[in-house]
């Protein structure tokens, strides 16, 4: 193993030389988004691999090397990395790890430190760890999150949101099982090719692509039946990662549900918006806030493109804009609540209710600090405001068993089923938009 360079904190530096031939391992979270982002990195010259290893070994490694009371995502992600390093699949002298670092008052800002501690304990001290962050917490010589990469990543997130949204709305009803999955694969490949040719990420190209994407999904043959509509919200990792939530999406599919998972772009917007909000609340960081405002404007345009495109196809339910989602929590929780998922979690629950996905699973790691406040802490208030809200909070941790989780979800679903059966507002739930296979429901105004 070559001699590693260390910075003043003793951390191994990921050098420019390493960037040439090291394989960077990234833990998987949201599969569609991450495979798009992966291709952005690959085409920027990095060797990247998304970790999808699972099984008891992952949790075992996590339990061994991470404090057991630490949040479950940290335990899983670090466990997954160690499990991978020990698997023998990688040349450890040519391997680096990447982990995101959010910043903010939540424990999550500490993941990278916990990872380094774990690596040291496990004897992998010389493996470089790259922090992926936008808040300037740590920088690496060999890995630079350049502006073109950022643009492509943002576009990747928007495409990811679109593909996730559309396949969630189509998959439960498709006549030929697997149609939407195939379409998602098709598009991830196609978009990756575009990124590689430095295309596909400008606002203009985004609009064109999105239009093609939505239209391709509209062509899938479906058979619409009345299904329970479930919103999945919660801590970001557990919400998206099947490793974290015991394959929640598959379970719900098996229970004959249609699901909605709020997009990743909202979380990015929320993080950027927090910078603006902090300046407003506490008066400092005005310059940062200006930069953030510009970035937010750009992101809002990207999101706008997605919303407008989906709206052109009345068979689909378009997401709401970030500003609209944010407005929902007025008088419910303050926007100053911005550690972890913060107010966005509360807002997403309300958004789900508004969108007709009032049966909500609020997923969180056991003992997740912000979720005491914005998740469990707000359920009572949300239910008080809107009787359609049927929310079940589910805790995830190494020993929370699936049978208990599923049992609680089934209870929520039983109530949902009853509401569905007795509901006269089912049609209203579509809010004017209609099921893809039922053009007769299509109100004329939606066609514009």
């Amino acid at each position: 193993m070559e001699d590693v360079k260390r910075n003043e904190s003793g951390n191994v530096i990921f050098t420019k030389e390493m960037a040439k031939d090291y394989t960077i391992l990234i833990p998987m979270m949201a599969p569609i988004h991450f495979s798009l982002i992966k291709s952005v990195f690959v085409h920027s010259g990095y060797k990247v691999e998304l970790l999808t290893n699972h099984g008891p070994g992952v949790v075992e490694e996590g339990l061994k090397y991470v404090h057991n009371d630490t949040c479950y995502p940290a335990l899983l992600v670090i466990g997954q990395m160690l499990d991978a390093l020990k698997s023998g699949k990688y040349d450890l002298s040519r391997t680096a790890l990447m982990i995101s670092q959010t910043g903010g008052g939540c424990r999550a800002s500490n993941y990278i430190f916990l990872l380094r501690k774990a690596l040291k304990k496990a004897g992998y001290d010389s493996i470089p760890v790259i922090s992926l962050n936008m808040s300037g917490l740590e920088s690496n010589q060999g890995f630079r999150f350049t502006l073109p990469m950022i643009f492509k990543t943002v576009a990747g997130i928007v495409y990811g949101d679109a593909l996730m949204l559309l396949s969630n709305q189509v998959k439960p009803y498709e006549v030929n099982k697997g149609d939407s999955c195939r379409l998602v694969d098709h598009w991830t490949e196609k978009l990756a090719r575009q990124f590689n040719q430095n295309e596909g990420f400008s606002l203009k190209q985004l609009r064109i692509n999105l239009n093609d994407i939505v239209s391709s999904f509209a062509q899938i043959a479906i058979h619409r039946t009345r299904k329970i509509k479930v919103g999945i919200v919660g801590e970001i990792y557990v919400k998206y990662a099947s490793l974290g939530n015991n394959n929640l999406e598959d379970f719900l599919a098996g229970q004959d549900c249609e699901i909605m998972v709020p997009g990743l772009l909202d979380f990015v917007l929320y993080s950027v918006d927090a910078v603006v909000g902090r300046a407003k609340l506490y008066g400092s960081g005005q310059l940062k806030a200006k930069v953030a405002a510009v970035l937010k404007h750009y992101l809002m345009q990207m999101q706008g493109a997605l919303i407008e495109t989906v709206k052109m196809y009345p068979g689909f339910k378009a997401p709401s804009s970030f500003e609209h989602t944010k407005s929902l929590i007025d008088g419910v929780i303050g926007t100053g609540c911005e550690m972890g998922e913060g107010w966005l979690l509360t807002a997403e629950m309300m958004e789900c209710v508004n969108q007709g996905y009032g049966n909500i699973i609020c997923t969180q790691p056991f003992g997740c600090l912000p979720n005491h406040i914005c998740g469990k802490g707000m359920i009572r208030k949300i239910k008080g405001l809107d009787a359609r809200a049927n929310i079940v909070p589910i805790d995830y941790d190494p020993s929370a068993t699936r049978v208990n989780q599923e049992n609680r979800i089934k209870l929520m679903l039983s109530v949902a089923r009853e509401n569905l059966d007795s509901s006269i507002s089912q049609d209203m739930d579509y809010g004017g938009g209609a099921a893809p296979a039922a053009p007769k429901w299509r109100p004329a105004t939606q066609l514009s």
Binding site: I112, L281, V332
Partner: protein, 990 residues
Amino acid sequence: MLIYRKGLILKIGLDIGSTTIKCVVLNDKKEIIYKSYQRHYSQITHHTSKLLQEIRRILPGCRQAELAISGSAGMGMADQCAIPFVQEVYATRIAAGRLMPDADVIIELGGEDAKILFLTDGMEVRMNGSCAGGTGAFMDQMATLLNISLDEMNQQAESAEKIYTIASRCGVFAKSDIQPLLNQGVRKSDICASIFAAVVNQTIAGLAQGRPIRGKIVYLGGPLTFLSQLDKSFDTALKTTGICPEESLYYVALGAAFAADRTLNLEEIIRNLEQYKVTGQYDAISPLFAGKADYDEFLRRHGQAAVAFAEPATYAGLAAIGIDAGSTTVKVVVIDREGEILCSHYQPNTGNPVPIIKDFLQDFYERFPNITIQATTVTGYGEDIVRNAFRIDHGIVETMAHYKAAKRFMPEVDFIIDIGGQDIKCFKIRKNVIDNIFLNEACSSGCGSFLQTFANALDYSISDFAALGLFADKPVDLGSRCTVFMNSSVKQAQKDGASIENISAGLSISVVKNALYKVIRPTAAEPIGRNIVVQGGTFLNDAVLRAFEQELKVEVVRPNIAGLMGAYGAALYAMEHAKGNSTVLGPQEMAEFSHTVNSVLCGQCSNHCQLTVNSFSGGRRFISGNRCERPVTQKTADDSLNLYHYKLSLLKGYKPVAGQRGKIGLPMGLNMYELLPFWHTLLTRLGFEVITSPDSSRQLYLDGQATIPSDTVCFPAKLLHGHVQALIEQGIGTIFYPCMTYNMDEGKGDNHYNCPVVAYYPEVIAANMPDLEKSTLIYDYVGVHNEKIFPAKFHSIFSKYFPDVRLEEVRWAAKAAYGAYADYLSEIRRQGWKIVGKARDAGRQIIVLAGRPYHIDPEINHGIDKLIAAFGVAIISEDVISEDVPRFQTKVLNQWTYHARLYGAARYIADKTDMNLVQLVSFGCGVDAITTDEVRDILDQEGKIYTQIKIDEITNLGAVRIRLRSLLAALEQLPVAAGQTGVEQNHGRR
């Protein structure tokens, strides 16, 4: 009796719970024509199939029926055998809708679940979260602990006179509350009633979440059907009389039957069930033994670690007695001068160690009149009472006793692990001194007794049950969390078709993993020790021992008296310290021995502790339940070297000053503990009369308990509900409790955040306390970290509520507030250093009791500061010394103000021989998962001992006492090394 008309379609409902199967068969009028209730001992498919065959036998004409299954344990089977499944809470609702249409609230307790259904005014169904331990299983555990049946428990509770506080969150906590009560000799009937009260408390606190339980209330499920006193307990708490209907056991089964709408062929279902070879797909780990030969070799190796037994009948000479009055068992060992065992005794502690030891001594004196007892020593939970009762010569802390014993087997021992009934105790030995102690925190205790309860539930003795796992081929991977979670892991494994053998092996392995990864947390890079002695009753099970060796990949020593080591060590200690004759009661005195127990309320201070007074013959008394030494010594505690006490008294000085703008309330919790000087000064200057909420108390907590939305948040946060409630009830119209992302910036870290809970708890208060309609809660987002911007920002917020407050006023008041805050901190530091100086002059140890500012609340720290002070050491807090440490690089992101002080304090004391750090950690504090490791690392680097105490709503100080005594005992043994560096001159003080 059972008449069956041909062609009639019956309805069958099955409720398969965690321990029992309930079944009902309904005729076309929906009347019950058959019902049954039986335990399934985890063999679910087998019993279900038998049950259906039985129905076929009684109703031969009934070939088809509308059948549905409910209950969490039946979920997987229903899926596999294509039988419709109805979620159990939902089933209850269906049944209630038909049978009890006018019910308002249903409370249903099952084997492991607690449920509340609100039926009227907005239907809601709630189940306990995965954290709260089950109720039926919990009461089973308690009954095991008390060594009585559930029926007896119910009878006992009838004659109760007093209710003790037992933590209501989870079974394991409750257990550690009950144990000391038992050891103190509290009446069993009171304990039984207190257990029921705790269950009630847990159900209400965990499930009501702010919603009042009133109207017509229905009690369902096994515990509420069989235990009339539990119903009474609910009645008392809810101030109502609930109804336990006739078919209260069968509501879920009835609901399933009512909901069943698919006609199934019974023969076919039975066939499916018989053929239902569960996939056997679960996460498995490698087997314990490769085969019989492997096991024999293992037995041979462990057979070598043996202490010799001497024949007592022929021995005439000096002997010593060691007693280990443990949490679940009493052990006694008598040794001769060579340390060989003359006689030993091991018996479950049926709640009171005194009669057991009395019987032993009397018997011993009678049988062996030629043996002279030279010295006696007692250790363990019951140390104090036993010592008083029998005039035992010495009492030593358990850790010391175990070390003494282990050294006898392995002189070079460097690590001891003891897994007993309730506790895991481990200690590292460095240079002949107990250097680091690991005790299980309240959340993972009960390992041995868990195996026991589980064995009982499956109808096995513990040793038979553990032995089942020895040759299991695919042990279930059951995880390593606290034992309550294991219950549900086992449920999952059953669902997945794991055999009893594999479950047994899995449980043994879990016990080991729990000890390793929850308590010791070793890493591969640094083995926990090279010479390991294992002991404690739990290791007598070969499966557990093997699992331990496999997990650590090291061969360990298990003495042949693994269950007696504490007592053996105590006996060795007695022999070493023998001076002439023992003070222990002789045969004569034993004959006259008597023991009575009284319960009295101490009136010597405002704490009003519930005292248990044990009186023995000869006028000896033992008082327990006291928080201070006053009822024992009749002296007020000396608090002059206790900074926690001083801090509290300083805060008390901030009294209301009448002002023209009226009253404003501050809830005394979380960050308010430190910011009181700031807010008090600011608001007083602005013309408000600042009213702080009353001192925390158990009652104050209970008053706010029903509005807590998250049962896993830390106790200091939960307590805040009570404080706000108290202010509302005092009629305070405006309550000020701002959200604060940031704390004051002390420049010691990368940032200066509050933790998420401290930062945003006001949001939770605002969203979940219905009574706030009566008051205005000001909970805007405020930043105090920037003194320049603060006045304008604060003014813009405050003028929304008080438009006449002018900016200039705020500027003036803020200046004073920042001044008052700085004065407060410097006053604490001044006093802290004064204490340090005094302690050094007197040559006393100084403990830095490190935590958060709000840990000075006696309801949160349970008087731990006073307990430490009682050992004659001085106490300061982390903020006194952290100030003097310049900012340094930590291995974690150092971004919270309060937590940066912990790192600073740890760094400061690293080279101070007379200072040691004890960290208070609130259970459920996520941030401390990070800080505790870092503080330990900092101390480890300098060879300092790290001690952590987890606190929750529990009031049991027994474990804390052991920890502190062990720490102090270890310090005593350390070389006196004032100012000396790491020169290895090892002359430990005896």
